[in-house]
């Protein structure tokens, strides 16, 4: 695979600025043939921009790109593909209603795949060669996220590939699937294909990658051989020296039942929605319960159901002993429920409105200055306090929500809910897309709220977060909930099996899960 070059890819002084932020600042990096190279950094460090520059999606303001020892100007993704690059984006670019073969055909020029039947055969043979078995005739919406990722990878492997770029590929996988992916990548590398692997999970980088380049604030802050470097050293390069991370969150002291779901079932609301099957879940005061799971396995439905946006077909929901199955969002909020949604800008806030107005989005339920007439002065004052207490980086209550970074907005939203002293708090992906410092701050706040006697439910894909915070853990798969057990009794392997749907669910025998 064109292994004559001494450097597969070299970046010299790559710079890219967007209005108001410098995404990449004189980035230098070299990737050798057959090397698995990690690109590590926090959210917002400029990793994704750099990837897009390499793949020709974004044009750099300055700098050179050297491809196989020759300076090259990448015109666009199609050109990058012709040169031998492939990229697997974090959000897959697949059409849900088409088959695997059709999806791959759309990506390739006609002359390259000939006929759909020949393409189908090639998909099968590539799948066999790399242990990436997928059924080419299945429709994409019937595939699990892990399988969809395989389609994306196979798509790249159909060409003569020399560099495969993967943007946080493990974020959506179960532990078992991660192991499998690592094997595939090692095989590819041994055949001379270079791999650029974006991640912020340091352990993964240390076991898989030959080299690592660390970015912070758009700049390269270091480069190392991960196997010979400790996670602490890498994380210092990622975060800077001055960051203090609280490692222990303590344990909860479970009290009375605060929220109970008893045999709750929901039929799917749309073509790609998930049904919930007879969910039993009890949250206790002063305890954090965590549910792991790969995205799209019923988490959205579960959160909507608890929040009161989705009415169950069967079963009961009790809040503090009161049957609130038929009550809506407002009644449940009045009874002490608070929800932090994963979709921060889509549901948790209004981008174009000020922080004061965004605080009001849920605070209107409890704030006495928001009944009928709005008294802006005290409302603004309370927003100012919120910004201070939760160390939100904003110039003031008049900033719009859209102007805040993901981490800061999340601190603001969680602070807004905590300030209402909820009895039950549901956090859907509490630290998704949040920088490490802010995530830690959020974890500390959640632990404090637990100590004050709030029942907390966390849904997350981040298993480190799950084990760090949660007193009881479980997993959701295909709309079914695994048993919930104390965290120290559930090994990573068991949890991985639960995430893949292998658990005994006595009341739901015979219910097939989609994955």
């Amino acid at each position: 695979m064109g292994a004559t070059a001494s450097r597969r890819l070299e970046l010299v002084g790559i710079a890219k600025a967007y209005p108001g932020c410098i995404a990449n600042d004189r980035v230098e990096m070299t990737v050798k043939p057959g090397e698995i190279h990690a690109l590590v950094g926090e959210n917002g460090a400029g990793k994704s921009t750099l990837m897009k520059i390499i793949y020709g999606v974004v044009k750099p303001d300055a700098g050179q790109l050297i491809w196989n020892d020759r300076e090259t100007l990448i015109e666009g993704p199609a050109h990058a593909r012709r040169l031998g690059m492939g990229m697997v984006f974090q959000h897959f670019s697949l059409f849900q209603t088409l088959t695997v073969t059709e999806n791959i055909a759309l990506y390739l020029p006609r002359q390259e795949y000939g006929s759909l039947r020949r393409l189908r055969d090639r998909i099968l043979s590539v799948g066999e060669a790399y242990g990436l078995d997928i059924n080419p005739d299945r429709h994409v919406h019937t595939l699990s996220v892990g399988e969809q990722q395989r389609v994306e990878i196979v798509r790249c492997l159909l060409q003569e590939i020399q560099l495969l770029i993967l943007d946080e590929p493990t974020a959506v996988l179960t532990p078992g699937e991660v192991t499998h992916l690592v094997k595939v990548l090692k095989q590819l590398a041994s055949e001379g294909c270079s791999i650029l692997f974006i991640s912020h999970k340091l352990e993964e980088v240390r076991t898989l990658c030959d080299r690592a380049t660390i970015l912070r604030g758009g700049r390269v802050t270091g480069s190392c051989t991960p196997a010979e470097t400790t996670s602490e050293q890498i994380s210092r390069m990622m975060l800077g020296d001055d960051l203090h991370i609280e490692k222990s969150m303590g344990v909860g002291a479970p009290g009375d039942d605060s929220l109970s779901l008893e045999g709750v079932s929901v039929s799917p609301g749309g073509a790609f929605a998930i049904a919930l099957h007879s969910i039993d879940l009890t949250l206790r005061a002063g305890e954090i319960t965590g549910i792991a799971g790969v995205a799209g396995n019923g988490q959205d439905e579960l959160v909507d159901l608890i929040n009161g946006e989705l009415a169950p077909d069967a079963g009961k929901l009790l809040l503090d002993g009161r049957d609130m199955t038929a009550e809506g969002v407002l009644a449940r909020r009045r009874a002490g429920l608070a929800t932090v949604h994963a979709d921060r800008l889509g549901r948790g806030s209004i981008g174009a409105m000020s922080l004061t107005e965004n605080r009001l989005l849920t605070a209107y339920v409890t704030d006495s200055d928001a009944h009928g007439f709005l008294h802006w002065r005290p409302l603004t004052e309370r927003t100012r306090e919120l910004i201070q207490n939760y160390q939100v980086k904003a110039s003031g209550p008049d900033d719009t929500a859209a102007s805040l970074s993901g981490g800061n907005l999340q601190k603001f939203i969680i602070g807004r809910e905590i300030a209402q002293a909820p009895k039950v708090l549901v956090c859907f992906y509490p630290t998704w897309g949040v920088d490490v410092g802010s995530a830690n701050r959020i974890h500390v706040e959640l632990a404090r709220l637990r100590d004050e006697g709030t029942a907390i439910l966390i849904l997350t894909e981040d298993l480190d977060e799950l084990y760090l915070l949660c007193d009881r853990v479980g997993a959701i798969c295909g709309g079914q909930l695994s048993p919930l057990k104390p965290g120290h009794e559930v090994s990573m392997e068991t949890l991985g099996q639960w995430m893949a749907g292998t658990f005994s669910a006595p009341q739901t025998q015979g219910v097939q899960n989609a994955h």
Binding site: L73, G308, G328, H341, G346, R347, Y364
Partner: protein, 367 residues
């Protein structure tokens, strides 16, 4: 030169866009006049300046502004929540029809209560007409744009049937008109021979009310949130259906009031040509005024002028009255076009002297 998306919408362009649209409308208007063989500047003068160069002309401007502003005030609240009530025209007509029918019924009654009853009947009729759309939307998810437009035609047909049938004046030589309303059912005029009625004050008062509701009440806040992000409103537990009812009933009531202001004001009877498009023009006003009460006031003056200008152009230039519609259409067309510049900008790129020969100029879009 190329067009690219702005990182954030430009607040300056938001307010500049209506002025730019006005400028382009004037230029295009002048071109149309000269194509018709009229002196462009003199024609524009006849259209925009002459009608308001006398006190009587100014008072006539406010006669036009009254129904426009009433309709637009109601729509402002609706549109802020992205509830697209296109039916102010039908609510206006139905309000006028019912208020007219009540006025005819009360022709022989005296007393201070007569006028309030007439006004209330028109307002309630407008609310009822909008309420049909609200019911269809909240109960059956029938889109309000379609239902309100269709209800416009129904209302106009009802008016035509009434003045050709049950409400036709027996002494009207078989013309499709009602009897003239009795004086006690008419809105008092402000002074002298001018036709402006007290309804202009109702319009201004309601505009102030809308401003207060939008900025100082939870209802107004929830309205704005609905317009910005319905999912967030739902997530936060706002009662979306109740809000839709409140907004549609309010705007229907305002359009009904506009109907009263016209039929129990300058017109004074029910006729077949009550529907002059005020309800549609009010939509242009709300967009032109950036859905802000003050902007709506200014825009209603401008759009009111297009009615007067059209009438004057008919008299002095011998042009058809449809010139009013042409100007309103141009204004909306250019406004929508200029609004594109709120989210996008034009970038002038200098000519590149030397580009590598293998570089194509194709723009790449991110996936």
């Amino acid at each position: 030169m190329r067009i690219e998306a702005r990182p954030t919408p430009s607040p300056t362009m938001r307010y500049l866009s209506p002025l730019l649209a006005l400028g382009l409308t004037l230029i295009t208007g002048a071109a149309i006049f000269s194509a018709l063989g009229k002196a462009p500047l003199a024609s524009l003068h006849a259209f925009f300046i002459e009608p308001v160069s006398t006190v009587y002309g100014l008072s006539e401007l406010f006669v036009k502004v009254t129904p426009l502003l009433l309709c637009a005030t109601g729509l402002t609240l609706c549109f802020r929540a992205k509830v697209w009530n296109i039916g102010a025209e039908g609510q206006f007509v139905f309000g006028a029809l019912i208020a007219g029918a009540v006025s005819l019924q009360l022709a022989d009654h005296q007393g201070f209560w007569v006028l309030p009853v007439v006004i209330a009947s028109g307002v309630l009729a407008g609310m009822a007409w909008a309420g049909i759309a609200a019911l269809l939307l909240t109960r059956f998810r029938a889109h309000e744009i379609l239902t309100t437009i269709m209800l416009n035609y129904i209302a106009i047909q009802l008016l035509l049937w009434s003045v050709h049938g049950p409400l036709k004046s027996p002494s009207g030589y078989n013309f499709p008109e009602s009897e003239l309303f009795s004086p006690q059912t008419l809105l008092p005029t402000l002074w002298g021979q001018y036709r402006v009625t007290i309804a202009i004050f109702i319009a201004l008062l309601m505009l102030a009310v809308v401003w207060t509701v939008l900025n100082r009440t939870l209802l107004g806040y929830q309205t704005r949130v609905m317009g910005e992000n319905r999912q967030a409103a739902r997530f936060a537990g706002f009662n979306g259906n109740r809000l839709i009812w409140v907004l549609l009933l309010f705007s229907g009531g305002m359009a009904g009031m506009a109907g009263v202001s016209e039929v129990n004001g300058p017109v004074g009877q029910l006729t077949t040509n009550l529907a002059l498009g005020y309800g549609y023009t009010a939509i242009i006003i709300v967009f032109m005024g950036r859905m802000h009460p003050l902007g709506v006031l200014l825009a209603s003056l401008l759009l009111g002028l297009t009615y007067l200008g059209g009438e004057n152009a008919q008299m002095t230039l011998g042009l058809p009255k449809s010139i009013t519609g042409v100007f309103q259409g141009l204004l909306l067309f250019f406004l929508l076009a200029c609004d594109f510049l709120i989210s996008h900008r034009i970038v002038l790129t200098p000519m590149r002297g030397h580009r590598p020969s293998n570089t194509s100029t194709r723009e790449v879009t991110s996936s």
